[in-house]
């Protein structure tokens, strides 16, 4: 009893979060997702222009070793960087898109996206461990129609949240999305409400939700699950907002100042708890999970 509390600190350092990186220029958001890593041996950093060898880049977790620009990566790549190897159990991979509005060109877009992303839809969900701690993970897939949220993404995320409640596990969602998916109309819009409602249920069960916001996160995803973390984490330089800079310019002719909508801007404006570089993400998540494990609650250490 109370043993823990009398244990002397043996290792006293503030493991502080890395300092915010330099703010990327607006041009970063314009870089199409696919340009990042062509098939060649090398790639040019879209931020600093440095020529980087693919092999080095991969070893550096796809972060530019000169300017620390965080290249966009796929949900599978992200999963590999975060979860314990071999621990991931995928859920609901068989939920497939229908075309409820019979929307012009949607079927073709889906087929294209499937080829491009190598996935049936733009969401990846399941259970895994991080440094041994079990957790429910959900990812947007940027290569699938810009990570947009339609019925399948909303449904898979909602099911994952309900499963987390059932298993009493914390949840981490990795967001990267242009917002709600136009082609499913109002059904897409209401996925925002659906996922937020599921998060409300998770919260009322006292379970932890960490939202990780990745480059880029906009629209209906920012206006739903991505903003609702008990803890909101972003990667350095990630662009995060409700309305994209181009739409703001077109709509009200307002030019955003340099650095607007970056992770750092959002943190200054109170929306982001932590800006964490890719190399530290796994260990920061593990620490946070550990402090929220049921056994870590003060009541249970007595």
């Amino acid at each position: 009893m109370f043993k823990d509390i009398f244990r002397k600190p043996k290792y006293v350092t503030i493991q502080s979060v890395p300092a915010p990186r330099r703010i990327p220029t607006d041009s970063v958001v314009e870089a199409p997702v696919r340009k990042e890593l062509p098939d060649g041996l090398w790639v040019k950093c879209p931020k600093c222009g440095e020529v980087l060898f693919n092999k080095d880049l991969e070893e550096n977790l796809k972060v530019c070793n000169k300017c620390e620009y965080h290249f966009r990566i796929s949900s599978r790549e992200r999963l590999a960087m975060i979860a314990d190897q071999g621990s991931f159990e995928e859920w609901d991979s068989d939920i497939l898109t229908s075309d409820p509005l019979d929307f012009p060109g949607y079927q073709e877009k889906i087929t294209e996206a499937q080829e491009k992303a190598g996935m049936p839809e733009g969401a990846l969900t399941g259970k895994a461990t991080i440094e041994g701690i079990p957790v429910v993970l959900a990812f947007n897939e940027a290569n699938f129609m810009m990570g947009s949220m339609g019925s399948v993404v909303g449904e898979k995320f909602t099911r994952a949240l309900e499963k987390a409640i059932e298993l009493r596990l914390p949840v981490i969602i990795f967001s990267t999305s242009g917002g709600a998916r136009m082609q499913e109309g109002i059904l897409s819009l209401y996925q925002m409400a659906k996922t937020s409602a599921a998060l409300n249920k998770l919260a009322s069960e006292g379970l932890l939700y960490i939202s990780v916001l990745l480059d880029p996160t906009f629209g209906g995803v920012t206006a739903s699950y991505a903003s609702l973390g008990d803890i909101n984490i972003a990667e350095p330089g990630a662009l995060i907002g409700f309305t994209g800079p181009r739409v703001i310019k077109q709509t009200i002719r307002q030019e955003l100042p340099p650095g607007a909508q970056t992770a750092e801007f959002n943190q200054e404006h109170g929306m982001i708890d932590l800006v964490v570089e890719r190399a530290l993400m796994r260990s920061v998540l593990a620490r946070l999970l550990r402090y929220h494990q049921e056994g870590a609650k003060y009541g249970s250490t007595i």
Partner: protein
């Protein structure tokens, strides 16, 4: 002079013709009653054919009509009393959203509504009905209050969308909307959300997590404005009309898609032709559903709202 749509012009022309014929007959003391009666018959049919089966784009135009009644037009007709409560207790009072306590057929309710202006000056004050984060946070505060005092919540949706400017981004537009969605999902009081004009995207949805979702006949509720959709799809905002149809966002579409629960009849030609009549219809439909919901236990209201949301979506497998 009222704003007139292209498709309404034949009606007005016919009305004018009948008026002139009457005048002529009276002046010259000629009996043209048979002729006039025929024309009146045609007018009724023309109105029916024009308004009776409006396409999506025409509904968009009516929903956005410059004289479309707004929340402040309906409030005195719907409620015996309305006490407007202001402010988010954090930053500002956003006039793009109004809220407060009202007395609806003897029952105190909390009311939250988007408000578009009626002229340029008012539209600037109300940012054309496009709320900033403080508007959503005011809504949240008032709805939390409704939950505390176990009052039903009535929301009225009428916005082109949430404000899209630097200020909105700085103050967390996404967060503010998301909080509304999350909170509404958790309330144990009845929520009835009614689209009374435009239902523009996330900015509309923030007030749209009702147990019951109602739509006036000539409204639309969409994930994206038809002009923006056309821009993205065909790089041509002028093809908004096509987008309007592709998006299936009219009241009738949403009823079919299972998102809207019921429609509220408007007078022929749209709500602005007879506000009192529209308010009367609206009052009756709201009353009907409020009575139903008042029969439910608090936890059931919350659970059924959740189940309703969970069912929205189309997929296979």
């Amino acid at each position: 002079m009222a704003q007139l749509f292209e498709f309404e012009k034949p009606i007005v022309e016919l009305e004018n013709k009948i008026f002139e014929l009457r005048k002529f007959a009276a002046e010259k003391e000629i009996d043209l009653s048979q002729e006039i009666s025929k024309l009146e018959q045609r007018l009724v049919e023309l109105k029916k054919s024009t308004y009776g089966n409006l396409d999506s784009w025409k509904r968009v135009q009516i929903a956005r009509h410059s004289e479309r009644p707004n929340f402040y037009d309906y409030a005195p007709l719907l409620f015996e009393d309305f006490i407007e409560l202001k402010g988010d207790r954090l930053f500002a009072d956003d006039r793009a959203i109004a809220g407060g306590i009202a007395l609806f057929r003897g029952t105190p309710v909390t009311v939250v509504a988007h408000v578009k202006g009626k002229d340029t000056k008012e539209n600037i004050q109300r940012n054309f009905g496009m709320p900033h984060p403080e508007g959503y946070r005011k809504a949240l505060r008032l709805m939390d209050q409704a939950e505390k005092f176990q009052r039903p919540i009535l929301t009225f949706i009428d916005t082109p969308g949430a404000a899209c400017d630097l200020a909105a981004e700085e103050r967390g537009q996404g967060e503010a909307i998301a909080r509304c969605l999350q909170a509404m999902a958790g309330y144990t009081v009845p929520i009835i959300s009614t689209v009374i004009g435009e239902g523009g995207s996330g900015g509309a949805l923030a007030l749209g997590v009702g147990n019951i979702i109602l739509m006036l006949e000539n409204t639309f509720y969409s994930v994206i404005a038809p002009e923006s959709c056309a821009s993205i799809l065909w790089k041509d905002p002028a093809r908004a009309k096509e987008a309007a149809s592709a998006l299936r966002f009219t009241a009738q579409d949403l009823l079919q898609l299972g998102v809207a629960d019921d429609l509220v009849k408007e007078p022929l030609g749209g709500a602005h032709k007879n506000i009192a009549q529209t308010a009367e219809e609206l009052s009756q439909v709201i009353a009907k559903y409020l009575v139903r919901l008042k029969g439910e236990l608090p936890e059931a209201l919350k659970n059924k709202r959740y189940e309703k949301l969970k069912k929205i979506g189309a997929f296979s497998g």
